[in-house]
Amino acid sequence: MEALLRPRIMLSLTIILIPIFLFISGASSHQIRINNAERRIDLSTHIVKVFLTLKVENTGKTSASEILLAFPPTQVDHLAFLEALAATGKKKKKTYVSLAVKPTQLPDAPNETNYYTIVLANPLNTGETATLEILYILTHSLEPFPVEISQSESQLVYYRDSALILSPYHIKQQTTFIKIPSNKVESFTRVEPTDRAGNELKYGPYEDRPPYSYSPLLVHFENNNPFSVVEELVREVEISHWGNLQITEQYKLAHAGARHKGIFSRVDYQSKPAFSGVSSFKHLLARLPPRVHSVYYRDEIGNISTSHLRADSWKISELEIEPRYPLFGGWRATFVIGYGLPLEDFLFESSDGRRYLNFTFGCPLVETVVDKLTIKVVLPEGAKGPSAVVPFPVEQRLETKYSYLDVVGRTVVVLEKKNVVPVHNIPFQWNDLNILFWGSKMEKKKRNSLLVMLVD
């Protein structure tokens, strides 16, 4: 019954809330104008990164505290990451403030447009302007064409977007730059003025476009970067009483580019590396935390001997792994990476006696998309009341795991997220995860109250 009731409550809530949103958004879409928009789309890898700079002006009569971002429905499914910063200050003293972003529904959205609301730190008064820096990342947005290629061909992909920025606001002036990995462009849509210089396409500047302007854009270009996609990744983080943090990561890796067709000839692959299998990849780089030890790399049939570890006690350790065979389009491989870390680097005690763990959320593989990420944090036996504090929506649940000679079992916090991209090398701090739990009885005796908090 309760489960049935809940959606009803939600429904009624949304019905009540919709007019309020209507009022806000209706008001803001008329009063806000974008003076200048610059969009840089980076297509150099299979992860599409879009940097959007908006200069927003409030031309209405009331102050506005929210700015809407619009996405076509095709993009919103592939949207892995969205971050907005407000730039304040002049050129040299520029500082950035991170802004809250949340998905929003609008009732009068044309063609199922989806919205995200950026909540401004300070409401924008009449006549004021603000500069917003927005980064969003799209996955699975490059469509290979031809769908199947043979060993000697290189990989061509389509990228679809709009030449004009989709926005509920009037845009005075806008420009879009598209960066392509090489000079080889098969074709691209011309929406004058369009310009091509080397590996960059420039669309615009376009002047005075009304809200919801859309102009389809198709770029067909060569992209031989590894389309490495982890279809499923299960990371198990086990906290040991004995000062060790054991991480086990199970990967299901696939090459998501154009499917390999016909023969695979080893003699061609080995003797003519420049012409054969250019879109395939055989190396992957994993960035592991410093002071990593006991690294192993294996799969269900045993150890995989092709890996190199550059461990460092100060910097990030680099683990270069090779799957058993080079991955061509559509080929798959599974493997497990495991390593140990000193617990004191990650587990801290907070002022109220709790503990928290600071650990990376995403996948350590560089330039890799994770379709489904499951993190299991195995707490020491007897730990109670864990809670995870995560700044982005994840599915959470608790499990119990029995490990070496356990009696009551260990509490496991399971977090699931779909469509994860590596954002370690991007200066945005978003991947923080806090898990709080009561420690085991044994430790409770020693310290009156122990709450362990895991962060990452």
């Binding site: 023969i263 695979f264 003797s271 045993g302 150890n303 995989i304 065979y325 080929w331």
Partner: protein, 782 residues
């Protein structure tokens, strides 16, 4: 008083000796376990070779689905399209053992993987086997010999070769089962206890579960019983040791699905029943002899013998007729090839093709049992001084196993425990003699009187033997009141007599004193020999027998180079082909393909269907088109060949190819071995026959091989290949591993083939037919 003090001292020494031997045994167990870990340390914790992969897969199934599903398991991933009833065709002892260990550990919340349990099953059971050896040898020649034999067995290379960590094969537990069965038989023979007889039957049951080699037990024990009867050593203890074993053991053996009614039907078990009857006749005779006066007995004998002989002849005639009516005389092929070493190579090439079924060479004896080969004769001699029931059994064991090991390399494994027991006895006796002489001489040098020395020696020199004797007599004293049995008492009498004789021999031995220098030198030499043995064993364990064979390594100037091609190919198959695709390869790789690649295979290492294997052999030796047709009719989608020519891996398919031809030709006569040989020589260079150069195996192995170095130099055969440039029309290369060791080809779909054919016929035939084809084109239904 003095006697009491002496007895107290003896019990103290006895207790001390027990504690000492307990710790020595513990260390031997640790040694047996740890010497087998080289493979894990040098390589990795992984299942080895071929058969272990099947056992591992079965264990996985067992742990996942439970015992009942296991008995009913019909495996459709092998022997396509026939399948295989695993539950009824597998010796379940090993899998059940490992499954039980896994289940126990997991119910204690020790989350070891099935693979880990499987990898370490063999080392654990080697420790058990060495303890069983101790027990067995102790029954034969006392604790000293037992400890020596256990230590020797813990590191005998022959046994290590089959029981390193990861070598998860039947023999791993079977050797333990074999020795423990022998021990319990001897124990029953020595004590006449029904308790041990029952245990013996259970141990035999475990052996039947574990390995087909149980037939060795069920033939050796009857042989020994017969020997005892013939040499006039019949006793009620012999009856108790043997009769329950046959009845209970056969009943239990028939419970194992793979044995079933074979336990009474086949000729391997025939000897046991015959001896069972003889034993009863003898028992009856002894009984009658006991109740009749000697005169009456003589009359009875003549009466019974005359009637009995007639009956016996009739029964034997019927039996012989029955046995002779079956084509293999009721024997299985492997057993027959044991009795007649030339049988397999004459009639069953599939048994002869396995390298471990070949007779061993002399160096392999030295490699596998090392110095034991020289100690064994000494041990046999020691067993005859004095000859007891137990020692005669050990002598019989070694004589038969020497013969079997001479027929098949694989049975060296059965020989190894016997050799260890014999060498243990020999070493221990030699040490005994030397140390006793040294002590005697030392006492004399130190100025004791001759008589004192003699006394001292009787008290000090043979303390262990004495202790054992004292212990035994104590036991018998304890037993006496509890079992008021005439037979028992008789036994006691016999024992006392035996003791008297042994005491006599002891006095004789005491006279056997060697000069001081000689004994010291002898001791040193023995120690030196032992050290040599240990060094050799460690070397064998570390270097010769620990390679898992799925990973190859070689040392180059750049360091260690790893060849992991097999797993590369299996992993590729596992992840990049459809789940139901069928993979054809020579049967050697069948188990690995099902276990590691999880794909259906046509034939595997369980070579139960000769015709099916011959079909694959024929396809491999046929030209491309015929092979395509054979494979297509078997729904095969991928063909896997192993090719060592690029890196010099000698046991590849080209080297095994003649067996494929032979086995294929045995069933399909159009494949003739001489077609593949040039003047009786097997070659793949330009002198090779056209049949050889056009067969599928050649083409799949050497396809585009010439492009690697421009010449096509095969590093295994050390020659340039005969046919360098050719195209494949019915197969396409879909995967080749990094070092070219495994090549996987896909059968081209039949559609293309027909279209290609039509084009060919069009281009070949001149105008009239082209007209016809033109008219065909107009046909809208075409």
């Amino acid at each position: 008083m003095a006697a009491a003090a002496k007895a107290g001292e003896a019990t103290l020494r006895h207790a001390f000796g027990n504690v000492l031997s307990f710790f020595i045994l513990l260390l031997i167990g640790v040694l047996a376990f740890s010497i087998r870990l080289f493979s894990v340390i040098k390589y990795e914790s992984v299942i080895h070779e071929f058969d272990p992969y099947f056992n591992y897969r079965v264990t996985q199934f067992l742990t996942k689905n439970g015992i009942y599903d296991f008995w009913n398991w019909f495996d459709d991933r092998t022997w396509y399209p026939l399948g295989r009833v695993i539950g009824g065709t597998v010796y379940p002892g090993l899998t059940l053992t490992a499954g039980t260990i896994w289940w126990l550990l997991n119910s204690l919340n020790i989350p070891l993987s099935v693979e880990t349990v499987c990898v370490f099953t063999a080392p654990i059971f080697s420790a058990f086997a060495s303890w069983a050896t101790y027990l067995l040898t102790k029954e034969v020649k006392g604790a000293g010999a037992g400890l020596t034999a256990a230590a020797l067995l813990a590191m005998v290379p022959s046994y290590i070769s089959r029981s390193v960590a990861g070598s998860y094969d039947n023999e791993a537990v079977a050797i333990f089962a074999l020795i423990i069965t022998f021990y319990l038989y001897i124990k029953t023979l020595n004590t006449g206890s029904l308790f041990y007889a029952t245990l013996n039957a259970i141990a035999y049951f475990y052996m039947v579960c574990s390995w087909g080699g149980y037939t060795f037990i069920i033939n050796l024990i009857p042989m020994h019983v017969l020997l005892c009867i013939v040499t006039g050593r019949y006793s009620s203890r012999l009856y108790i040791a043997y009769a329950p074993l046959v009845v209970l053991g056969t009943l239990l053996a028939a419970l194992v699905p793979v044995v079933g009614f074979n336990a009474v039907m086949t000729s391997e078990h025939f000897a046991s029943f015959l001896v069972f009857i003889i034993l009863h006749v003898v028992a009856l005779v002894y009984y009658i002899k006991g109740i009749l006066s000697p005169k009456m007995f003589k009359v009875a004998v003549t009466l019974v013998v005359s009637v009995g002989l007639v009956v016996c002849c009739a029964v034997i005639a019927i039996l012989v007729a029955l046995v002779a009516s079956s084509p293999t005389k009721g024997w299985s092929g492997r057993s027959l090839s044991l009795l007649d070493p030339t049988y397999a190579s004459k009639y069953i090439p599939i048994i002869a093709s396995v390298s471990e079924h070949q007779p061993p060479t002399w160096p392999s004896y030295f490699m596998d049992i090392n110095v034991l080969a020289f100690l064994v004769p000494a041990g046999i001699i020691a067993c005859f001084l004095p000859l007891s029931d137990a020692s005669s059994f050990v002598v019989l064991y070694i004589v038969t196993s020497v013969y079997f090991s001479g027929v098949m390399v694989r049975l060296m494994l059965v020989f190894a425990p016997a050799a260890c027991i014999m060498s243990g006895i020999a070493l221990s006796q030699a040490f005994d003699v030397f140390t006793r002489s040294i002590k005697f001489q030392l006492l004399r040098i130190l100025g004791f009187s001759e008589a004192d020395a003699g006394d001292g020696s009787s008290a000090n020199v043979v303390p262990e033997n004495d202790a054992v004797k004292v212990d035994k007599s104590e036991e018998t004293i304890k037993e006496r009141p509890s079992r008021k049995n005439k037979k028992k008492e008789k036994e006691q009498m016999e024992k006392a007599q035996a003791e008297k004789t042994s005491a006599k021999s002891k006095t004789e031995k005491r006279l056997l004193v060697l000069p001081m220098e000689l004994s010291v030198i002898g001791l040193l030499l023995l120690v030196f020999m032992g050290a040599f043995y240990v060094v050799h064993c460690v070397w064998a364990a570390a270097e010769a027998y620990s390679a898992p064979s799925i990973v190859l390594t070689s040392y180059t100037h750049e360091g260690l180079h790893v060849f992991d091609d097999f797993r590369e190919a299996y992993a590729w198959l596992r992840h990049n082909t459809e789940v139901d695709d069928k993979v054809a390869s020579w049967w050697d790789y069948g188990y690995q393909t099902t276990a590691m690649a999880n794909r259906t295979v046509i034939v595997d290492n369980n070579t139960w269907n000769n015709t099916h294997i011959a079909t694959v052999g024929t396809a491999m030796s046929s030209p491309e088109k015929a092979a395509w047709e054979i494979f297509n009719s078997l729904d095969v989608k991928y063909v896997l060949v192993v090719f060592g020519g690029l890196v010099g891996y000698p046991s590849d398919d080209i080297n095994k190819f003649l067996w494929m031809v032979r086995i294929g030709g045995g069933v399909f006569p159009h494949i003739k071995e001489p077609d593949y040989l040039r003047d009786g020589q097997y070659r793949i260079d330009s002198q090779a026959t056209p049949t050889m150069l056009n067969c599928l195996m050649y083409k799949l192995s050497y396809y585009r091989f010439v492009e690697t170095d421009g010449k096509g130099f095969d590093r295994v055969r050390r020659t340039e290949i005969g046919k360098k440039y050719f195209k494949l029309t019915h197969f396409e290369e879909v995967f080749t591993t990094h070092h070219w060791m495994v090549r996987i080809y896909k059968l081209k779909p039949s559609k293309n083939r027909i279209r290609g054919k039509m084009k060919k016929s069009k281009s070949r035939t001149s105008t009239p037919s082209s007209k016809r084809s033109g008219s065909r084109k107009k046909n809208p239904w075409q």
